[in-house]
């Protein structure tokens, strides 16, 4: 999952070319992205298992009067891990509440060790976390299934927050084309989800609890339990419940909207490029036309529907 090439065996003795610069930078990156050892220290053994870290780092970093070469690299090593763990914690409050702070941090450390950042922005840091949680269930047991759902839900929120949008369809545009031939698309920031857990209620409860704790802490510091294990006990893990959700934004605020299973199927078909007629058929025969009309009216008010031309939606950046 990482594009980082293998660590060079030695640092360049002199830096005469871009290739030398790359060698040095590759070696130092390996020194930073490797997991921290116990006590958040730089491990004594180098990643090849044969040499000491002091031998390798000492080849390219100078010691000074107060710090060894390894201690100097350790400053960057710790900053790297603390910064990235902090960013992931900010993005995944629900997953952290579900697993508890310690297990969550273990999961994130394992994730970052396997999937170092491939993007210039920390916004994308958790883009591969849902897949990682799915592939390594042992890291989130006994809540592995709920953890999968919450990881997916929280990444969908990141995408909905600042993803691209297209001009929404107007009623007049819809009326110009007969329904059987009309194909519409959904906003690219909108995602549709079928979960086995009520992740929306759970994450809302987490956020409300956090806001309450913050307010209470300001009033009377230390009144609420500081022990993370005790805090976790106050919010039980979610129980299984089939939940259909649209994660979206409206007037640039993030929302999640519960969907009826028929709504979910219709929207999924529209997102896949089906005609409205085909999408409605996916919804089932029992739905009254008046009900469907009301659904479409709501989706249009929310700006979810947009135009599709020759099988592709029309992308327009927000101005």
């Amino acid at each position: 999952m990482s594009g980082l090439r293998a660590a060079p065996r030695h640092a360049p003795a002199q830096l005469r070319s871009t290739a030398d610069l790359r060698t040095l930078q590759r070696l130092m990156t390996h020194a930073l992205v490797r997991p921290l050892a116990a006590g958040d220290r730089t491990p004594k053994q180098w990643i090849d298992g044969r040499r000491t870290t002091a031998e390798v780092v000492g080849e390219f970093i100078k010691p000074n009067a107060t710090l060894t070469a390894v201690e100097r690299i350790e400053i960057y090593h710790r900053v790297y891990w603390f910064r990235l763990i902090g960013a992931a914690t900010d993005d995944c409050p629900g997953l952290q509440a579900l697993l508890g702070p310690r297990k969550f941090e273990r999961l994130i450390r394992a994730y970052l060790a396997k999937c170092p950042s491939r993007s210039f922005t920390l916004r994308d840091l958790c883009s591969r976390l849902p897949e990682f949680v799915r592939r390594f269930p042992s890291l989130s047991r006994p809540q592995a299934a709920a953890a999968r759902a919450i990881a997916r839900f929280e990444w969908a929120q990141t995408e909905a927050f600042d993803g691209p949008s297209w001009p929404p369809l107007t009623a007049a545009q819809i009326q110009r084309v007969p329904a059987p031939q009309l194909r519409v698309s959904l906003q690219p920031y909108l995602s549709l989800h079928e979960f086995d857990y009520p992740v929306d209620r759970y994450v809302l409860a987490v956020k409300e609890r956090s806001a309450l704790r913050s307010a209470a802490s300001n009033a009377r510091e230390g009144e609420l339990p500081a022990d993370p294990v005790k805090q976790r006990r106050t919010l039980p893990p979610p129980r299984r419940e089939k939940t259909y959700l649209a994660v979206h934004r409206f007037e640039n605020r993030l929302y999640y909207k519960r969907l009826d299973p028929a709504q979910y199927r219709i929207l999924l078909a529209l997102q896949a490029g089906q005609t409205i007629a085909t999408a409605l058929a996916r919804g089932g025969r029992r739905i009254q036309p008046a009900v469907v009309q009301e659904w479409f009216a709501t989706w249009m008010r929310l700006g979810w529907l947009c135009r599709r031309v020759r099988g592709k939606a029309v992308p327009v950046r927000e101005q």
Binding site: S2, G3, L4, R5, A11, P12, A13, Q14, L15, R16, S17, T18, A19, D20, L21, R22, L24, Q25, R26, M28, T29, L32, V33, F60, I61, K62, N64, A65, T66, L67, A69, E71, R72, I73, I75, Y76, V79, Y80, R83, L84, A87, P116, S117, R118, S119, F120, T121, L122, R123, A160, F161, D162, G163, P164, S165, Y189, R249, N252, R317, E318
Partner: protein, 290 residues
């Protein structure tokens, strides 16, 4: 000589960083601020709330873009998709100049999200200067590169940091964002005299300055941006202002962010040093005419 070609001859005054905890205050109260510095990466998105806020800010204020991920010193080539996004933002903000750091932070497309120090060699300076020129030519906006604070030095280095900064900026013909707090932090960590650094920098290239707070640990100092500016840093700033002339100045406060008013008041302390430098400059001019 208050402005130069690296900041498009603007006289921007004292700015502060645009940060999320202050959005509501700024949009509602519309306080008088000379300019805001934005972190480019926070707005290199496709839509949503960040761009909505930015557009509202742009209606009222002058904005300068400051980046944290261009990594001019990385051996990797500039990423085209990244540059394209950045150019779209440059067009949106009409930033008079754009700054990023003289550092590296990624290799093989893996990002550390840190500002890692450069090896101070001629080969690295050539490579870095080439990259700055490429970016400037693509973005069509003056570039200022910022000196970073550092905690480590390389055996392969062939010159001092300020010599490297001069070498790169002369080769790239670009400006300097002189971070006086970073000079102080690095001086303490590496044992050099910060005034040697200041006196070694090509003053005519300094298009912007940064001041910030830092944190002292037992064996080193960390550039934390979570405190008011400490006195030795203000003294360095005063010296830099005397040497470079009055320059667009920005206070960085990125962690444990206090109220907007507190941050702005701290930034405005720079005015006292600017006034002192201006008075000194006026005295010198009078002396020349006598």
């Amino acid at each position: 000589m208050p402005a130069n070609r690296f900041n498009r001859f603007t006289e921007y005054g004292i700015g502060i960083g645009l940060r999320v905890p202050h959005y509501a205050h700024i949009l509602e109260k519309k306080p008088v601020v000379d300019w805001f510095e934005i972190i480019s990466e926070n707005f290199m998105v496709d839509g949503g709330r960040p761009l909505e806020v930015l557009d509202q800010i742009l209606e009222q204020y002058q904005v300068v873009q400051h980046g944290v991920s261009m990594y001019f010193g990385s051996a990797d080539k500039p990423d085209r998709a990244h540059l394209k996004r950045l150019k779209a933002l440059v067009k949106r903000t009409k930033t008079p100049w754009l700054s990023d750091h003289l550092c590296w932070g990624s290799v093989d497309g893996t990002y550390t999200h840190d500002l890692l120090p450069m090896p101070y060699t001629f080969a690295a300076a050539r490579r870095t200067a080439d990259k700055i020129r490429q970016v400037r030519d693509y973005l069509e906006v003056p570039i200022c590169v910022e000196n970073v604070s550092s905690y480590a030095e390389y055996h392969v280095s062939e010159m001092t940091e300020w010599e490297f900064l001069s070498e790169v900026t002369e080769r790239a013909d670009c400006g300097i964002l002189l971070d006086v707090n970073n000079i102080y932090v690095s001086a303490q960590n590496h044992g050099f005299n910060p005034y040697d650094y200041l006196n070694g920098v090509p003053a005519e290239r300094v298009g912007q300055m940064h001041v910030a707070g830092h944190t002292k640990f037992e064996k080193y100092i960390l550039d934390t941006h979570d405190h008011p500016v400490l006195d030795p840093v203000w003294q360095l700033y005063a010296h830099a202002t005397k040497r470079c002339g009055v320059t667009a100045t920005l206070l960085e406060w990125d962690d444990k962010i206090p109220s907007f008013g507190e941050v702005h008041d701290e930034a405005l302390k720079a005015n006292a040093f600017i006034a002192e430098a201006e008075a000194g400059s006026a005295r010198s001019e009078i002396a020349l005419h006598l």
